[in-house]
Symmetry: C4
Subunit: 125 residues, 4 copies
């Protein structure tokens, strides 16, 4: 069977880096990506904000047959990073098909919270 | 590549505003929307209840290239709002394609809980 | 626009009723359904177990333009119910198109946990 | 109606077995599968890592009309298992169509966290 190994354009509307943590685990988000192709692929991450222009097309390399868990707090373009405590949205574009999931861990209050969802794939018209 | 930037009709069956909060974070839900088009778009939110007629087509503007995180407790039409502690469902219609995610934070008990899912897109027949 | 108001066949692989609760909220699951059609529809819920035959086609009525949040612990056919503390799966079939989401609240330990996902729609071949 | 009972290729990008637990519930992940076909089916689970080659095609049998909740910590091939505290990704291939959901319970901190999502289905081109 010849299957397409994912999609090349993904959206995650609900991004938010919690400013506080408690206990053993640090509050954070991850963009989780797997590349099932036989070749590495470039990806480009765009960050949309509520009240200002996006940070556009942060480049990154995703290796063949590898899992990548990208902490959103590590993303940076020309010295600009995603601020904590600000609602935002994520767009992931890639040269080769990939699969994208988003997860957040919030330890603001004692007792951990997790949430996760697949990204939403945009398909060609 | 010419891609459709989402869908114009989304459903979230599980809505619920928790009546109680504890600690630093207030229990709330957000409808998270990103508009990747080059133009603003109008959206219309309908709220379905278990035991009475819906609140239909609450209008709102979603700006181009922006992220919107709409607290469901802020929605209002002719003075009518979504009551707390009541299970309900959400329909989002928009003029231009958008992407819709739903998230809930519940701090009723010490120790936070989060849940999230993409909305379900209704497509043209 | 003429849109199909959902799908008539949905699957939720991960069902589980937690046996314990603490604090103010009772551990429970909900199958959340919205019927956007102008007519009521019958639905039929089948429960799959790990080690025995399914409970097949528990009937229920879903009203037009209403939200339904069905506690799985309330489902019953010929006196048979879903036991607590047992992993199982859920199938929802309906006469008219609907949209189905699944959510679980677990308060086994102090501090609440939530999880939620859309059901997986099976489409005609 | 003749419906396809799911898909034969599923991806879950965000896998992680939490190393710690507290309280009554052990931190764990489950791959939840339901086989709605009239026949048993073989499945093959591949695990992708961040920094080394995958564990490929761990075989397993999924019974007809049954629910399966597979703890990822139980997966093993030639004595190799998924280590705890390591981000990874999951691929599930099957001979017959199935439906796949992923859930994680994290009790690292007092107060439980849950997250869940449907797997992402790869379709034939």
């Amino acid at each position: 069977m010849n299957r397409k190994k994912g999609e090349t354009h993904w959206i995650i509307p609900d991004g938010f880096i919690p400013p506080l943590s408690s206990g053993e685990l640090i509050s954070h988000e991850s963009i989780c990506i797997v590349n099932c192709n036989n070749e590495d692929t470039a990806i480009y991450i765009t960050i949309y904000f509520e009240d200002r222009d996006p940070i556009e097309k942060i480049p990154m390399m995703i290796h063949s047959k590898r899992s990548h868990h990208i902490r959103t707090s590590s993303l940076e373009l020309n010295g600009e990073k995603i601020p904590v405590n600000v609602p935002y949205s994520i767009e992931v574009e890639s040269d080769l098909p990939i699969i994208v999931q988003y997860s957040r861990l919030d330890s603001t209050q004692p007792g951990l919270a997790l949430m996760s969802t697949m990204g939403y794939p945009l398909k060609s018209e």
